[in-house]
């Protein structure tokens, strides 16, 4: 397949892996920020190609995994309201809330539909003017512009039966939190390629400077990741701490300006709770007041739904790269994709699910 096979060529991969092995002189701990990158690492077994001292830990960049429990509970309550058509990206449906998940809500009679884009939800709203259509707007900066566009368009059309639960989170504040922790082990980051495609990488230069940590914006194919690791190793061995762009075929310094424009038109920065981590200041997005008519949480009054989050699994530590999924006593026994204890076991981008799917007991 053109434009993909080039980035999956085993010969090139081995050559890059050898280059890394030649360069590295000491143990290094690197974090790939994105769940999509974790998935590629596990699927292709790339860590097996790296020299023994280079350890990869898996970051918090799975939007499904960091969506807080209470947000899932609110979604389920709204979806179960008579007359509502609830529209969501597919992998949110199996995320466990406190008592149930959206698949179960659907089996119990809720009208829950899977969409590939929030614009599909708009279409459903136009076709069903007598029903309330609610989209579950989750994700990082990557999905935010499309979600913003849907709200903007709904306002322009006066499509008042459409609304959105906005549960967007931002990557740089989460990286800052990890770097600020006294228990931090991460010496270099593979930056989030899709997020930077939208936002550019100016924000990451502040982090690199402040914490003296190298960041290489990386793609999602095997060669992308190995190249990014090679660039990080070179920086660390040479004592540099810069932002470099491995994913230049998609990412530009300033990012996608029209996407940022619509994002800022509709959303503003707010504090958000992250599943497994807790509240992080200025780490998420919410609808601006002028779009309040499209705020599903306001319309359905779910602000009072909170969830007591039990101390059950170690996903807090996994999402910050402090533990590996295999360190969890529940992994593969009490916690599986069938009965996930925590969100990282649900989404294919979750670190635990990636380990379960590709690595368990090989």
């Amino acid at each position: 397949m053109k434009f993909v096979d080039e980035y999956r060529d085993p010969k090139i991969a081995l050559a890059v892996a050898e280059r890394i092995a030649r360069k590295v002189t000491r143990p290094l701990v690197l974090m790939e920020v994105c769940g999509g990158q974790t998935h590629t690492l596990m699927r292709y077994g790339l860590d097996e190609l790296l020299p023994p001292g280079v350890e990869l830990v898996h970051g918090p960049g799975c939007p499904v995994c960091v969506t807080p429990l209470e947000m899932v509970d609110r979604a389920i309550r709204i979806a179960s309201t008579p007359g509502v058509i609830f529209v969501s990206y597919g992998d949110m449906l199996r995320v466990p809330g406190s008592h149930t998940d959206l698949f179960q809500a659907k089996a119990s009679g809720a009208d829950v539909r899977i969409a590939y884009s929030p614009l599909d939800a708009l279409k459903i709203a136009r076709m069903n003017p007598e029903r309330k259509v609610v989209f579950f707007g989750v994700g990082f900066e990557t999905t935010a512009p499309a979600n913003a566009m849907a709200v903007w368009q709904a306002k322009r059309e006066g499509l008042l039966n459409f609304s959105m639960i906005v549960s967007h989170v931002l990557v740089p504040p989460a990286m800052r939190l990890i770097l600020s922790s006294p228990s931090n082990r991460v010496q270099g980051f593979i930056g989030p390629g899709h997020v930077c495609t939208v936002m550019g990488f100016g924000e990451y230069e502040d982090l690199a400077r402040e914490f003296h940590v190298p960041i290489v914006v990386g793609g999602f194919e095997p060669i992308d990741l190995l190249e990014a690791i090679s660039m990080l190793v070179a920086q660390l061995e040479e004592g540099r701490a810069e932002v470099e762009n491995q994913y230049s075929r998609s990412v530009h310094y300033k990012g996608n300006l029209p996407a940022q424009l619509i994002l800022h038109e509709v959303f503003e920065v707010t504090s958000r709770k992250w599943r497994g981590i807790g509240a992080i200041a200025a780490s998420g997005l919410r609808l601006r007041d002028k779009y309040a008519a499209f705020d599903a949480e306001r319309i359905f009054g779910t602000g009072d739904v909170t969830a007591e989050e039990p101390r059950e699994c170690i996903s807090a530590l996994v999402l910050q790269g402090l533990k590996k999924p295999l360190d969890c006593p529940a992994f593969g026994s009490r916690c599986t994709p069938m009965n996930p204890l925590g969100a990282p076991m649900v989404s294919t981008e979750g670190a635990c699910a990636a380990y379960y799917q590709y690595r368990r007991h090989v």
């Binding site: 397949m1 085993p10 008592h99 994700g139 200041a281 699994c313 807090a316 069938m338």
Partner: protein, 362 residues
């Protein structure tokens, strides 16, 4: 919550959701949920020596003949898709389930569940297609039934077909016969049917239209059995499966589990069309889990593998047949039964899916 993670964190993860008390769509996916339903609901009540073999068809000794007997229901949407329709699919599906037992298909029954309001012309088209498909496969539709349900209680048309065939003397295929050293043969590219349906359902368009592989396989099976029973060593073909819902991974996991063996696959040997690869990339699907309707996987003794492969390639349905892996020895309880060596030389597991594959968020 503070913005610091000095302490190991107050964890925030959901408790496991208790046993499912309702049927969800994933119970029909052919993955782990389907297997649970069989194990927990059907098998304990229906159990008998024939059913307990868990093959795609029952083989019955009646009056000195060995009859293969199978049934299948078809609920596909859309009713018409590139490469076929629900009618031809209902014929091919049951013909193939008979063929996987080595049988020559002879007779089908057909039962229609029609939804009030279905255009008669639609039904005529489906019936014409079934007539053509059954004539081409050399089977007669000898009995049937029709029920009509109220509007909204069906999805246009559901079809059930049941089939009977004769198993030739000396042929005994079953999923519990794979032995270490056997080869795994696949008759052609995977994922065509599932992606053709999904592309049509979601309105995805590609440069080249993706066409379902729906086709009868009994002639290819007869040719394969003709090879293996020549000379002394009959029984060289141990088992055949058509990897329909749940895809190749489900069929191989079932065979491995029922035979108590492991299976090692070579990723580079598994044929996948570029269009299907591309669509899977787009949707975040793994072709190993996508449905096929005109492919088979065969477990064959090593000394017969080349001859059987040759016979497959001489049939138009098997022109792209490949040897994709090898059967390995017994493995410890709880270990992965099916593994895949990637193009990078690393190994990953190929597990049953928990439920349906879900489109990923980004």
């Amino acid at each position: 919550m503070s913005d610091s993670i000095a302490e190991p964190l107050s964890f925030v993860c959901a408790p496991a959701i208790a046993a499912k008390d309702r049927i969800v769509l994933g119970h029909g996916s052919g993955g782990r949920l389907s297997a649970e339903l069989l194990r927990d609901v059907f098998l304990p009540m229906f159990s008998n020596p024939i059913l307990d073999r868990m093959d795609d068809q029952a083989v019955l000794e009646i009056g000195g003949s060995r009859l293969a007997f199978t049934t299948d229901s078809f609920v596909v949407q859309p009713l018409f898709f590139p490469g076929g329709d629900i009618g031809s699919l209902a014929v091919h599906g049951t013909v193939n389930d008979l063929a996987m037992g080595g049988a020559r298909p002879l007779f089908l029954s057909v039962a229609f569940i029609l939804e009030e309001g279905l255009p008669t012309e639609t039904l005529r088209r489906i019936v014409a297609s079934m007539t053509e498909a059954s004539a081409a496969a050399g089977v007669s539709i000898v009995t049937g039934d029709t029920k009509v349900v109220e509007r909204g209680k069906g999805d246009g048309v559901f079809i059930n077909t049941t089939g009977i065939g004769i198993v030739p003397e000396g042929v005994s295929l079953s999923a519990n016969q794979a032995r270490p050293g056997d080869r795994v043969l696949l008759s052609g590219s995977i994922g065509d049917h599932g992606i053709a349906i999904l592309a049509r359902r979601e309105g995805l368009e590609f440069d080249a239209e993706i066409v379902s592989d729906s086709a009868p396989l009994h002639e290819m099976v007869a040719a394969m059995l003709g090879v293996s029973t020549q000379g002394a060593a009959s029984g060289q073909i141990r088992c055949l499966r058509d990897p329909t819902r749940g895809g190749l991974s489900s069929s191989l996991n079932e065979i491995a589990s029922q035979s108590g063996v492991s299976i090692q696959l070579e990723e580079t040997a598994i044929p996948i069309r570029d269009e299907v690869k591309g669509a899977c990339e787009l949707l975040g699907f793994d072709p190993l889990y996508v449905a096929n309707e005109g492919k088979l996987v065969a477990i064959v003794a090593p000394e017969a593998a080349d001859a059987v492969l040759d016979a497959m390639r001489h049939d138009q349905r098997g022109a792209d047949a490949q040897i994709i892996g090898t059967v390995g020895g017994r493995i410890g309880a709880g270990r992965a039964r099916v593994t895949l060596r990637t193009a990078f030389g690393s190994t990953r597991i190929v597990d049953l899916l928990a439920g349906d594959q879900l489109p990923r968020i980004c």
